[in-house]
C-alpha cells in the first residue's frame, strides 16, 4: 500500500512537472511570437503600397535620412558622454573607499527604474526656462532673461541621455575594474611604464569588453529613446522613433512607418550584435575567478577634490533634476511654501486607481511570462545533450538571438501590434511588454544558470527522471533568487514604460506612466511630479528588492 501511495504521489508530481514545463514552453512561444509577428507585420508595411497620402510614396527621402542622422548623432554623443562620466566614476567606485561610494553604486538603478518620462520632466523642471537653475541664476545675477536656454536642443538631449544612462557604464566598468589585479598595474610601473601607459596597455584592455558593452547598450537606449525626444526635442530635433510615431499614429501613413521601422532596425542590429559579442567578453572580465583587491582610501588633496567635484557634477546633472520632481509635487502653485494640493488633485483623479491597477497587473503578468520564457530557454540549453548543446549554443548566436528585441523599439512593436489588433486590449499590452522586457529576464536567468557548476547539472541529469525533473528539482531552486530578481526587473521596466501604451492607444486603458506623460505634456507639472513620484517609488521599491535578491543569489 505505501508503495502504491508513493507511486501515486510520484505520478502526480511528474504530471505537475510536465505542466510546469508546458507552461514554460507556451510562455517562450508566446513571447517569441509577440516579438516576431508584430515586428514582421510592421516592417513588411515598407513593401506594401499604401493609400496615397500627403507625404507621397514612401522613399528614403531627406526627412527620414535627416532623422536617421540626428538619431545616430544624439545616440553616439549620449553614449560618449555616459562613458566620459561613467569611466572616472568606475575607477572611484572600484579602487577607492569614500563617503558617497554606495550612493554612486545605487544610481545604477536609475536607468532601469526611473522612466524616461520622469527624466524629461526632471530636466524641464531643473534646467527649463523657468526651472530651478535658471531661476536661481536670474535671482543671483539680477538677469531679466533665463541664461540657460539649450535644454530643447541636441545638447539638452545629449546631456539628459548621458547623465540618465551613465550609471550603466559606471556599474559595468567598475565591476570589471575591481577584478583587474592591482599587481598587474604595479608590475607595469616597476617595468618603467608611466601611469598612462600602464593604464592604456594593462588596465584598458581588461576593461574593453565592459566599455564596449555599456557604450553599445547606452547607444541603443538613446537610439530608441522616444519620450525624452518628444518632450525635449526642439525644432529639427526629431529622431526615427518620433518620425515613426507620427507616420503611424498621426499621418496614418503605414507604408512610410514601415520604411522608417526598417531603417531603424537595420541601423540598430549591428549595434545589438556588437553588444552581444562584447557581453561574452564582459562575462570573462567580471567572472567569479578573480578576486577583488582591497580598496584604498582617498589620498591627497587632488584625489579628494576630484571625488568631490565628481559627486557635485552627478548631483547637478542627475540627482538635482530628479529631486526637483519630488520637491515640485509638494510646492504651492505660486511657489511660496509647501502644499499637498497637487497630490490631492492627482490622487483624486478618476483615472488614478485604474491606472495603478493596470500598471501592476500588466507588470506582474509581463514579469511572469518573460521570466518563465527566459528560464525555459536557458534550462533547455543547459540540460540538452552535449552534441545538441554544441549545435544550439553557438557562443555568439546563443547570446545574440535572445537580445534581438533590443533592436526593436517599443514604437515599432506597438505599430506592428496596432496593425494586427487595431483596437488593442490589455492582453496585447502584456504580450508586447513581455516581448520588450524579455532580454532582461533572459539575461538574469542565463547568468544564474551559468553560475550552477557543470558537475551539478550533470548529476541532476543522471539522477532525475528527465530534463523537466532536473530543471524543476535542481536548476529552479538553485536559480530562484535570480529569477525573482529578473521578474522584479521586468516589472519595474514595464511600470515605467510609457511608449507602448502611448502607441497602442487602447481605449479606456490608462497606466501610471501614460498618465504622467499626459500631465507633463499638458504643462500640469505639479500633478505630473506627483505621478512621477508614485511611478518612481513603485519601480524603485521593486528594483531595490530585485537588486538585493540578485546580490544574495550571487553571494
Amino acid at each position: 500500500m505505501p508503495d502504491r501511495g508513493r507511486r501515486g504521489r510520484s505520478r502526480r508530481f511528474a504530471a505537475f512537472e510536465s505542466a510546469i514545463a508546458a507552461f514554460g514552453l507556451v510562455a517562450l512561444l508566446a513571447v517569441l511570437a509577440s516579438f516576431v509577428v508584430p515586428s514582421i507585420v510592421g516592417l513588411a508595411r515598407a513593401f506594401v503600397p499604401g493609400v496615397p497620402t500627403p507625404t507621397g510614396a514612401p522613399s528614403l527621402n531627406g526627412r527620414i535620412l535627416r532623422a536617421l542622422r540626428f538619431t545616430v548623432v544624439e545616440a553616439a554623443f549620449s553614449a560618449l558622454l555616459a562613458l566620459a562620466v561613467g569611466l572616472p566614476g568606475a575607477w572611484l567606485v572600484a579602487r577607492r573607499d569614500f563617503c558617497g561610494r554606495r550612493f554612486l553604486l545605487s544610481l545604477s538603478g536609475v536607468p532601469l527604474c526611473v522612466p524616461p518620462a520622469i527624466v524629461a520632466l526632471a530636466f524641464v523642471l531643473f534646467f527649463g526656462r523657468s526651472g530651478v537653475v535658471n531661476d536661481a541664476l536670474m535671482r543671483l545675477f539680477g538677469l531679466s532673461e533665463p541664461p540657460i536656454g539649450a535644454l530643447y536642443s541636441l545638447a539638452g538631449i545629449v546631456v539628459a541621455h548621458g547623465f540618465y544612462n551613465f550609471p550603466v557604464a559606471l556599474r559595468t566598468i567598475s565591476r570589471a575594474w575591481e577584478r583587474v589585479p592591482r599587481e598587474e598595474s604595479e608590475a607595469a610601473l616597476v617595468l618603467g611604464a608611466t601611469r598612462f601607459r600602464a593604464f592604456r596597455t594593462v588596465v584598458l584592455p581588461r576593461l574593453a569588453g565592459s566599455i564596449l558593452s555599456s557604450a553599445a547598450l547606452v547607444y541603443l537606449y538613446c537610439f530608441f529613446s522616444f519620450v525624452i525626444i518628444l518632450l525635449l526635442g526642439g525644432p529639427g530635433g526629431t529622431t526615427l522613433e518620433v518620425e515613426l510615431y507620427q507616420a503611424a499614429r498621426s499621418d496614418l501613413d503605414f507604408a512610410r512607418a514601415g520604411l522608417i521601422a526598417l531603417v531603424e532596425v537595420a541601423a540598430a542590429v549591428p549595434v545589438v550584435l556588437l553588444y552581444a559579442a562584447s557581453q561574452a567578453r564582459v562575462g570573462h572580465e567580471i567572472g567569479p575567478a578573480a578576486l577583488s583587491p582591497p580598496r584604498a582610501r582617498l589620498s591627497g588633496l587632488t584625489e579628494r577634490a576630484c571625488a568631490a567635484g565628481y559627486l557635485f557634477l552627478v548631483g547637478v546633472f542627475l540627482v538635482g533634476p530628479l529631486a526637483s520632481v519630488v520637491v515640485r509635487s509638494f510646492a504651492r502653485s505660486d511657489g511660496a511654501g509647501l502644499s499637498l494640493a497637487a497630490w490631492g488633485r492627482f490622487l483624486s483623479r478618476p483615472s488614478f486607481l485604474p491606472a495603478l491597477a493596470t500598471t501592476c497587473l500588466v507588470g506582474v503578468f509581463a514579469a511572469i511570462l518573460s521570466t518563465a520564457a527566459g528560464f525555459f530557454l536557458v534550462a533547455a540549453g543547459a540540460l540538452s545533450p552535449p552534441r545538441a548543446r554544441a549545435t544550439i549554443a553557438h557562443p555568439f548566436a546563443d547570446r545574440a538571438v535572445p537580445l534581438l528585441p533590443l533592436a526593436i523599439s517599443s514604437v515599432i512593436l506597438g505599430f506592428g501590434w496596432t496593425l494586427l489588433v487595431p483596437r488593442g486590449n490589455i492582453l496585447v499590452l502584456v504580450l508586447a511588454q513581455s516581448a520588450l522586457a524579455w532580454p532582461f529576464a533572459w539575461a538574469q536567468a542565463r547568468a544564474a544558470v551559468d553560475r550552477v557548476p557543470r558537475p551539478v547539472v550533470e548529476v541532476a541529469l543522471v539522477c532525475s527522471r528527465g530534463r523537466a525533473d532536473a530543471a524543476i528539482r535542481v536548476l529552479l531552486p538553485a536559480t530562484s533568487r535570480s529569477l525573482l530578481s529578473g521578474a522584479a526587473l521586468v516589472f519595474a521596466i514595464s511600470a515605467g514604460e510609457a511608449s507602448l501604451p502611448l502607441v497602442l492607444s487602447i481605449d479606456g486603458l490608462e497606466t501610471l506612466s501614460l498618465l504622467l506623460f499626459r500631465l507633463a505634456g499638458s504643462y500640469r507639472f505639479a500633478e505630473a511630479s506627483a505621478a512621477a513620484t508614485v511611478v518612481a517609488l513603485l519601480s524603485a521599491s521593486v528594483f531595490l528588492f530585485q537588486d538585493a535578491e540578485r546580490k544574495r543569489s550571487v553571494s
Binding site: 599587481e183 598587474e184 608590475a187 617595468l191 618603467g192 608611466t194 584592455p205
Partner: protein, 207 residues
C-alpha cells in the same frame, strides 16, 4: 664594498600595525626577508619598489635617494607572488614590456625577449598566450620579464609560493643559479626556512 640597497629607518603605520625596518644589501648579494604573516615583508618590498610610500625613512638604491622616485626610475625588477603576467599579451610581449617602456622598438624588444626566453629554458614559447602556461613556465616568464630590463636589484615576493614542492625545489636551484650568474642583488620575501637558506646568504627578520 658599499651597499647597493640601503633601507634606512623605514616606518609604515596602519591603525592596527606598524612596519619598521633598516638593512643593507651589497651588490650581487641575496637577502631573505623572513617573518610571520602580517609582519610587513611584502609591504617593505613594495616600499623598496616605490609602490607604497613610507611614513618615515629613506630608500637608497645605487647610492641615490630613491624615496621620491617613480617605480620605473629606480632600476629594480620585481617578481610578484601571483606573477602578475599581462593576460592579454603574448609571452614575448610580456617579457619585452619593460624594454618597450624604455624606448626600444617592439621588434627589437621581441628579439631581446626571445633571447631571455631561451635563457630561462622557454625557447619557442614567445607566441603563446600566458593563460596556457603551467605554473613553472609562468614563473620563468615573470622572471625573464623582470630580468630583461637589466636591473641591478631584483625583488621577489614569495616567488615560489604557488607551486608544488618538487617544482619549488627545482626552481629554487634555478633562481639561485641565475642570481650567481647575472650578479644582481636580490631581496626575497619568503616564510619557507629551507627556501630562505638556499636562496639567500643572509636573513633579515621582521616582526
Amino acid at each position: 664594498m658599499s651597499a647597493h640597497l640601503i633601507v634606512d629607518g623605514i616606518v609604515k603605520r596602519w591603525p592596527d600595525r606598524v612596519v619598521e625596518a633598516s638593512f643593507e644589501v651589497a651588490p650581487g648579494e641575496a637577502v631573505a626577508l623572513v617573518g610571520p604573516s602580517g609582519s610587513g615583508k611584502s609591504t617593505l618590498l613594495r616600499i623598496i619598489a616605490g609602490l607604497v610610500e613610507p611614513d618615515e625613512g629613506r630608500v637608497l638604491i645605487g647610492g641615490v635617494d630613491a624615496t621620491g622616485l617613480a617605480p620605473g626610475k629606480r632600476g629594480v625588477g620585481m617578481v610578484f607572488q601571483d606573477r602578475a603576467l599581462f593576460a592579454h599579451l603574448s609571452v614575448e610581449d610580456n617579457v619585452g614590456y619593460g624594454l618597450v617602456s624604455a624606448g626600444m622598438s617592439r621588434r627589437a624588444a621581441r628579439a631581446e625577449a626571445a633571447a631571455w626566453l631561451e635563457r630561462v629554458s622557454l625557447a619557442g614559447f614567445g607566441k603563446r598566450r600566458v593563460d596556457t602556461l603551467s605554473g613553472g613556465e609562468a614563473q620563468r616568464v615573470a622572471l625573464a620579464r623582470a630580468l630583461a630590463v637589466g636591473p641591478a636589484l631584483v625583488l621577489f615576493d614569495e616567488p615560489l609560493a604557488a607551486l608544488d614542492a618538487p617544482l619549488r625545489r627545482r626552481l629554487r636551484a634555478e633562481l639561485a643559479g641565475y642570481q650567481r650568474e647575472i650578479g644582481y642583488a636580490a631581496v626575497y620575501v619568503t616564510h619557507d626556512e629551507e627556501e630562505a637558506a638556499e636562496l639567500a646568504g643572509r636573513r633579515v627578520s621582521l616582526g
